[in-house]
Symmetry: C2
């Protein structure tokens, strides 16, 4: 693989990435205006040329109003073939291909760095050994129950710690490299 696939996720201390209903209201900047300017996201976003998102996460993004990924290739994953709203037909393509095929297609189209996002999508890419970099930002709150970041992969996935920084509001941001990626 030449293409790099990265995670850039905010989780709370229990390890959830969203409430059960999908809400992100505990996330600083969850109004969608300030989030993209903070927490190293701007630099990360500039480094990627494509996004692979789960359908649920993508649905949620629509609710933020403006399209958040100008100039990026966006693939929306779903086990059923996902319907992309007509107004986004130019910006995003739907696919039901398995993760390895998605990565091969992105690579064939010249993509060098993909941002993988959404609970189930992250899990399936981790299980397939397709994630190289993991950036986790920990929000200092416990919500008790929600959508977990990582699911069962059938094997231990070891990561190498690269760096950790403390941001405003007590956010702790750590960068890891997956040691046993494909």
């Amino acid at each position: 693989m030449v293409i790099k696939c990265s995670l850039f996720v905010a989780t709370i201390l229990d390890g959830f990435i969203a409430r059960k209903c999908g809400a992100l209201d505990w996330l600083p900047g969850s109004d969608g205006v300030t989030e993209s300017e903070n927490h190293g996201y701007t630099d990360f976003f500039a480094s990627i040329d494509s996004l692979v998102k789960g359908r649920n996460t993508c649905d949620l993004m629509h609710t933020f109003g403006e399209w958040l990924y100008p100039g990026k290739k966006v693939l929306v994953l779903s086990s059923r073939f996902p319907k992309i709203p007509i107004r986004l037909a130019e910006e995003a393509k739907g696919t039901s291909m398995p993760p390895m095929e998605v990565v091969r297609q992105l690579e064939a189209s010249g993509s060098a760095h993909a941002y993988v996002d959404g609970g189930k999508t992250i899990q399936s890419f981790l299980q397939a050994g397709l994630i190289q970099d993991v950036m986790i930002t920990r929000v200092p709150v416990l919500i008790g129950e929600g959508i977990p970041l990582f699911g069962s992969s059938g094997r231990d996935i070891r990561l190498r710690h690269l760096s950790t920084g403390v941001l405003e509001n007590g956010l702790v941001q750590s960068k890891y490299q997956v040691e046993n990626a494909a």
Copy 2:
């Protein structure tokens, strides 16, 4: 409350504190020899005068061989009245009291700082608003499934970040204060 109750836990990135079977084999120093000398545990252990442990965690500790808590009051919690092995009758007492009663009893006996440990015990103390300090050490591995650190508390629990340090082996250790403790 005058007594302080603290957590000192190692979790992996998914948020689990042990495999489903209770095993801690992913934990550096899980042979029970070096663990107590590392990661700030020695200083933390010196600062406490009592331990409240769940029965499962306590059972696991027995398998390490030597008694790990010399000179400390130890309460073993269980919904059924826990049986303490005869050889530990001096070191540990069993109780099925609810968390608030446990804390009142410890305080009445002169305890100033209790170390609360074990998955269900941690959850019940958090739910009761009885935890003030939380030290979390993140081990850079994903095991996919296991015993979760925190469970549903029915409310968001906000924490204030106090400090974060990076230890050997890529461990990230963060200290928090519970903002809405009882």
